[in-house]
Each structure stands twice: as C-alpha cells, then as structure tokens.
C-alpha cells in the first residue's frame, strides 16, 4: 500500500508541476491553480486512503476556505439540498427496514428455495439488482453477499462466482433509477430530470448491463456451475422480525416510490418525497426510532456535501468552464464521440476513485457541454459510466469491497484476482453500454 501511496504522490507532484507550467504560461489563473491543486490533493488522499475519505474531503473544504476561494456562505450555496435530502430520507426508510429484520427474512427466504445453480444465480442477482435500484446498495450488498456465501456452501461450490455476481448486480442495479445511486441523485438535481425520466433512460441501460454481466459471470465461472448440486432448501424456524416496523418501513418505501413516480403530477420533488416517507417512519417507529436514526450514514452525507463544495470551488474559479471548452475543442461537435468519451472517462475515473467525487466534478463541466451541443442524453452516459466504474476494484464501490472482504476472510480470493475479474467485467459492460447508448440516442 505504501508503494501505491508513493506512486500516487509522485503522480500528484507531476500533475502539480504540469499545472504550474500552465500557470506560468498564463493558461490558468492563480486561483484556478489553487482550486485544482486542492481537488487533486483531495482525490489522491481518497484514492490512496491516506486519510479517511470524510476527513480528506473536509480538509479539502477547509483548504478552499483558507485559500480564500470560497467563503462559508458560498460553501453552503454549493451544497445541493435536493441530493442530501433525498439520500438522508431514503437512509431512514432503509434503516427502518434493516432494524425490523426485513433483510434477514429475505435472506432466509433464499436459503429455503430448492433450485439448480444457474436458476439460483439468476434469481439472486436479479433480486439484488432490483433491490439495489431502490434501496441503498451498501445495505443490499451486506445482506445479499452473506446469502450468496451461504447458498454457495449449500450448492457445494466456491463462494466466488455467486458472491462476485451478487456484488456486481448491486453495483449495476443502482443505475436503474433516480434513487439507486448517489451520482443519479446528483445528476437529477443538476438537470431537473424526474424519476420517470431516469427509469425510462437509465432503466433499460441497467437491464442491458445486468444481462451482459450475468452472461459474463456464467461464461467466466461455467466450470464451477457444472460441478454444483441442486440446493435442498433450509427448513426450521424463521428469523425474528418486528412485523409492525417492517410494514411501516415498507409503506414508507412504497409511498416514497409512488411520490417519485407522480412527481410530474404532484410537483413534489424527490427529496421532499423521501423526507415525508422518513418522517412517517420515525413518527411511527416508536421505541425503535433511536435505532433507526443510528442507521443514517452521516459519513456519506458529509463526504458528498464536502465534495459538492470542492467541485463548487472549481466551478467558481471558472476552471470547469475552461475544461469544458478544452474538451469541446478536442472533440468538436461530434455528439456520439462525446457520449463515448463521457461514458469511458467516468467509468475509468470511477474505477479508481469513488463515483461521488467523479460525478461532482464532471457535472458542472457537462452542464456546459450539453448546453453547447444541445444533447441532454450525455447525462445518461455519465450516469452509466459512474455506476459501472464501481465494478473494477474493491476501492471503487462498497458492494465489491463487501464481497472482497468476505471472500478474503475465507481465503478464497486475493485483491489482484478480484481486480482482474473486475477490470474484465468493466470493459465488457462499458462496451455493451456504449453500444446501447449509441444505438438508442
């Protein structure tokens, strides 16, 4: 890890030198250079895990303030309440389901199925992808990876194929809807796209990516599946569930989804819908309210808020405008080429850094590009790339990290093995998405 850290710092110095050169040549201003260096340093600290990602991003925010790039109030103005509110609300709703024991019940139901290996994989991965489209994919991955490992044992095969397939489905599922992944929420807030628009545009992309991923998993691990036995199905006691809280959580969840779908009619934005659902859940949560509130992932909220501020710093200095102009100058007005570049750029960047900072940095730039080219569908390329980038490495997405940690503990996989598989899947799925986007738009 130390070597990787050093490598990243040398890279950082090289980039800084290059931009220092640009500054000397008068291409960028002093303020732009400072903002850029703050962003590069923050990204490097996140990518190398030099500091906890929240601490690194908060340090970036403090640096922007100390360098006089943004004032405290300007920072607030760059915080996107739509994004933060929606995530916050959904975290409470999902938290209530988690506290009620809903996910344990779901896992138990899987273990009771009597199915062959391939059928089981299709069922498990499709349910994972579906749940991940609506719920926080970290929670989904945590539960479904455990199910995958238990199912693999009952099938008498290595845990790797099902676990990897499940983690990848959780990553891809997030692409399907507006609430599936933080980058989608950020894009929706920046563009004003509704839940239905997302469902109609990124939904089919998620289906394509899921089918390609499923096929690749089968082909890659076909020998394992051939050796598997038919699962006999678990019997005995069901796990303990707080049924009242589960019904409250499910009602809140369904209520939120209905409000998302009816946004055009009601005019209620997704953040407000999620907050209404969350309030409903905590108002009726009774004694479990404390536990539900503990499920809020403040890490993610603060991390996201800090990165929005850092991207805001770049935007304020006009650097993103400069970058957008540079990219437009390079690609010209070729929309198809631009779409492919956005897709691959966001996928590759998201494979090394968390997709939230990547999206936060690319959104202001893409705003200018889409206006210039009059091509709104470029946003779907960004959403797709940011989502599938998470397939590549355990550093890039939590579901893959969860899978890696579990498999590593059992001694079934090494970091390098998983990166190899991840990179292969990333290339195949991104290529498929590129073809889909080019055909559709």
């Amino acid at each position: 890890m130390r070597r990787v850290t050093n490598l990243f710092f040398i890279l950082g110095l090289a980039i800084s030198y290059y931009f220092g050169y640009l500054r000397g040549a008068g291409v960028i201003t002093e303020e732009q250079l400072r903002a850029l260096l703050v962003m590069i340093a923050t990204f490097l600290m996140i990518a190398t895990e030099y500091r906890h990602k929240v601490v690194a991003s908060l340090a970036g925010v403090v640096a922007l303030w100390a360098l006089g790039i943004l004032s405290g109030w300007e920072m607030f103005l760059f915080l996107d309440m739509e994004v933060l509110g929606l995530l916050f609300g959904m975290m409470i709703v999902v938290g209530s389901l988690k506290v009620s024991g809903f996910f344990e019940l779901l896992s138990d139901s899987f273990l009771r199925l009597r199915m062959g290996p391939v059928k089981l994989m299709v069922t498990l991965t499709s349910v994972t992808a579906f749940l991940s489209a609506f719920l926080d994919n970290i929670t989904v991955a945590l539960f479904m990876v455990t199910v995958a490992i238990n199912l693999s044992r009952s099938l008498g095969i290595s845990s790797v194929p099902l676990t990897v397939g499940t983690a990848f489905s959780a990553v891809i599922g997030g692409l399907g809807t507006l609430v599936g992944d933080p980058p989608n929420i950020m894009i929706a807030s920046a563009t004003g796209a509704t839940f239905t628009e997302f469902l109609l545009n990124t939904g089919p992309a998620a289906v394509v990516a899921y089918l390609v991923c499923l096929g690749t998993t089968y082909l890659y691990y076909r020998d394992e599946f051939r050796e598997a036995e038919v699962q006999q199905g678990l019997s005995g006691k069901r796990p303990k569930v707080d049924r009242f809280l589960m019904y409250i959580g499910l009602s809140g969840f369904l209520g939120a989804v209905i409000l998302f779908l009816l946004q055009d009619l009601t005019g209620i934005p997704p953040a407000a819908a999620a907050i209404y659902a969350a309030t409903f859940v905590i108002a009726l949560g009774g004694r479990k309210t404390d536990k539900i509130l503990k499920e809020i992932e403040w890490d993610i909220l603060i991390f996201l808020g800090a990165l929005l501020v850092i991207a805001g710093g770049l935007e304020k200095t006009g650097l993103l405008h400069l970058m957008a102009e540079g990219l437009l100058g390079l690609v010209g007005h070729d929309v198809e080429l631009m779409m492919s570049i956005i897709l691959w750029l966001s996928a590759l960047l998201s494979s090394v850094v968390d997709n939230i900072p990547v999206t936060a940095s690319l959104i202001p730039m893409l705003k200018e590009i889409t206006e210039e080219l009059n091509a709104n569908h470029l946003w779907w390329a960004l959403a797709s790339g940011a989502a599938v980038g998470g397939l590549a490495t355990p550093l890039a997405s939590v579901p893959v990290l969860v899978a890696y940690k579990s498999l590593e503990e059992m001694g079934e996989v090494r970091f390098v093995d998983l990166v190899k598989v991840g990179m292969l899947f990333l290339l195949v799925v991104t290529a498929a998405l590129n073809a889909y986007l080019l055909l559709r738009y």
Partner: protein, 398 residues
C-alpha cells in the same frame, strides 16, 4: 385554522412531546420541521442563514474536541489528579464540583456530565463514600458554570450566534458572574450535604497515556485560545473552531477514526431540526400571536428561568429568539436570558437533555436519584444564585 395558529399548535406540541419523550428529541423536531415547512410551503434552503450554519458548525467542532478529550481520558485524568491532592471532605466536594464546572464551561456539557458521573460513582463505590451528594451537587454546579462561555451549552451557542456575541465578549460578560454564582451555589450545597460527605481514602496510581493527554490538552488550549482571539484575526468563531476540529481529525489520522465514529450525530440532527422548526415558526408570523412589545432584563431573566425549568434550554432559547425577533432587546436582556436558561436547567432535570442523560447513567449505575431528590436540593441552592442574577441585572451591572 389560520397558518399562524397551525404553526403555534405544531411548535407547542413538539415542545410538549420532546419534554415527555426527551430521548426522541431528534425525531420529534424533525417531524415538526417537516410539518411546518409543508404547511407553509417553504423550502428548507429559504430558512437557512449563516447564523444557523454557524450554530451547527460550532456544535460539530465542539463534539469533535470533546470526543478527543474522551479518547485521551482527559476527564478521568483531571479528576484523578485533583482528587489525589485532597484529603478532607470539603476539599473532595470542591474538587469534584469545580472540575465538573470548569469542564462544563469548556466542553460539551452532556459528555462532561456523563464522564464525571461515572468517575464520581466509581470513586465513591471504591472508597465506600455516599455518591448521591456528590452527584447531585456536580449536576447543579456544572449547569450553573455552563453559563460562562458561549460553548458551555447549546442554548448559549444559539443565543451568542444569533445575537452576535463573540467568544471573548461572552466570556468577559458571563465569566465572572458564573464564577460568583458557582461559589454561591456551592455554599448551600455543602451545608445541605455536610453530614453525608467524607474524604476518600488514598487514590490508586493509574498509568496514563501522556502522549495522548499532551496532544488533547494542546488541542484544547489551541481551540480555546484561537476562539478567544478570533475577533483579532477578523474571522468568525465557527470558522476557527471548524479548522481546529478538521485539523485534529487530519493530523490524528487512523487514531482519530474512532473519535469521528463516535460523534453524537443525533445532537446535530436535533439542533438542525430544532432551528429549522423555529425559523419556520417565525416565518409563519405566529410569534405575532403572542404580543411582546418590550422586555426588560429582569423579565427576560425570569421568562427564560421559568421556561428552562420545564423545557430543554436549547428549545427555550430558540423559542425566545423566535418570539423576540421583532422586539428590540437590550444587550442586558440577552444576558438575562443566558443566565435564566443556565439557572433554569440547574433547577430541574427537565431543563437540559444533559441532566437527563446523566441521571439515566446514574440510575444505570444503581443509584436511584428521583426528580424529587433533585428538586429538593436544587431549589434552595439555586435560589441564592437567582437573587444574585436579579441584583446584577437590576443594578445594571451587565
């Protein structure tokens, strides 16, 4: 029902619910904030202003610094060192109370009380000393002392930020009176408990991590020093505190991970929801239903004292700021308010969530202290401090 009445009913219900279910305060105020913003059809962003942000930033920074002190066992260290130097009942009584008072003025009161309660109970059990007198007196004295600084209590943070008092000016105005009132409160407390107090036997030597302790005390000194000097630099206290807090997390690296993980996010959520609820309440025009034309310092003091004895002092401060938004209040009236909220929360356990958390901890340690036990002691001891405050306000000393 008009919107104003609806807002008034919502806020009153929220305050009542938070008093009945004190441990569900974040949920209660989150619900009221959502209801009010929906009734009034306003966006949350319209209700947020720089002052509200400053309150949240200061609270966040304070929680991190308090977490650092907890991580380094700073509270235990200070208490143990002080107690190792005393050998009489009076000295023990003073050491426990003054430590609690000093720490409450410098760090998050709820955390200080939680630690002081645990340390005192362990000490009392070990040395077969009755813990009740020490626990009751430290709860009261720490509430009184929390009036000394703007970070001493959530209500102080809210008032100081909304009115625009700097850290140093707050300390200058409230520091001395807090000290006088602390002494005045300790005298009746000592007389009440004189017969039940005894000196602990010899304190056992404990090994301390001096590296952590030096780090945390240096940071605390820097935190307080820079907060006092913030005016000199022309930077707000919130900015300075945030920089120090983030620097602590950054410099500490992996070691600071569990400080970060143990931040009491519920406090931030509660405070954010509370402030948004009262901003929406002000926005609705409901405060005009309660006509307040002029409030003199004494009325302001008595009003806050009465409110804080029955509801949380942070809620009392927020309510007061909403109600007095259009009333031109003199500076002395605000100081009256600060004293009232601190003394009100010392009079009754309902006055502050910190009291309730500490009492719950006391009960979990097997020492039954009832509401009546507390009030029987707090009323006579705080009465003298109330008189001192009234004299100070009537004499125009503030």
């Amino acid at each position: 029902m008009t919107l104003e009445t609806l807002a008034l009913v919502t806020v009153s219900t929220a305050i009542l619910a938070s008093t009945i279910w004190p441990y569900r305060k974040p949920a209660v105020f989150m619900t009221s904030a959502v209801l009010l913003t929906s009734f009034l059809n306003i966006h949350v962003e319209e209700l947020v202003d720089p002052r509200l942000l400053e309150v949240l930033v200061i609270t966040f920074s304070l929680l991190i610094i308090s977490g650092l002190l907890r991580y380094s066992n700073f509270f235990e260290f200070v208490t143990a060192k002080l107690l190792s130097k005393v050998n009489t009942a009076l000295a023990t009584f003073l050491a426990v109370n003054l430590t609690a008072a000093l720490l409450s003025a410098l760090a998050a009161t709820s955390l200080v009380l939680l630690y002081m309660v645990t340390v005192t109970t362990e000490l009392a059990v070990k040395h077969k000393v009755n813990p009740k007198p020490l626990l009751l007196s430290l709860l009261i004295s720490s509430n009184v002392a929390s009036m000394a600084t703007m970070i001493g209590d959530l209500s102080n943070i809210i008032i100081a930020t909304c009115v625009g008092f700097s850290y140093s000016y707050f300390l200058y105005k409230m520091g001395l009176i807090a000290l006088i009132e602390l002494v005045i409160v300790l005298i009746p407390l000592y007389l009440l408990f004189k017969e039940q107090l005894s000196a602990p036997s010899e304190i056992e030597e404990v090994s301390w991590d001096y590296y952590k302790l030096t780090f945390s005390s240096s940071i605390l000194t820097m935190f307080l020093g820079l907060s006092v000097a913030s005016g000199f630099f022309g930077i707000s206290e919130a900015s300075i505190m945030a920089v120090v807090a983030v620097a602590v997390l950054f410099i500490g690296g992996e070691r600071m991970k569990h400080i970060y993980e143990k931040i009491e996010w519920e406090v931030i959520l509660y405070l954010g929801a509370l402030l948004i609820t009262f901003r929406a309440f002000s926005h609705s025009g409901a405060p005009n239903l309660i006509p307040l034309r002029h409030i003199d310092p004494i009325s302001s003091f008595l009003l806050s004292l009465g409110l804080s004895a029955f509801i949380d002092d942070a809620e009392a401060a927020s309510l007061a700021i909403s109600l007095l938004n259009d009333v031109k209040l003199s500076e002395s009236s605000w100081w009256g308010f600060v004293m009232g909220t601190s003394l009100g929360s010392a009079i009754s356990p309902l006055g502050s969530i910190a009291n309730l958390i500490a009492l719950r901890r006391v009960r979990s340690l097997g020492i039954p202290i009832t509401f009546a036990d507390y009030v029987k002691v707090s009323v006579p001891s705080v009465t003298l401090a109330v008189i001192v405050s009234l004299v100070a306000l009537a004499g125009g000393l503030l």
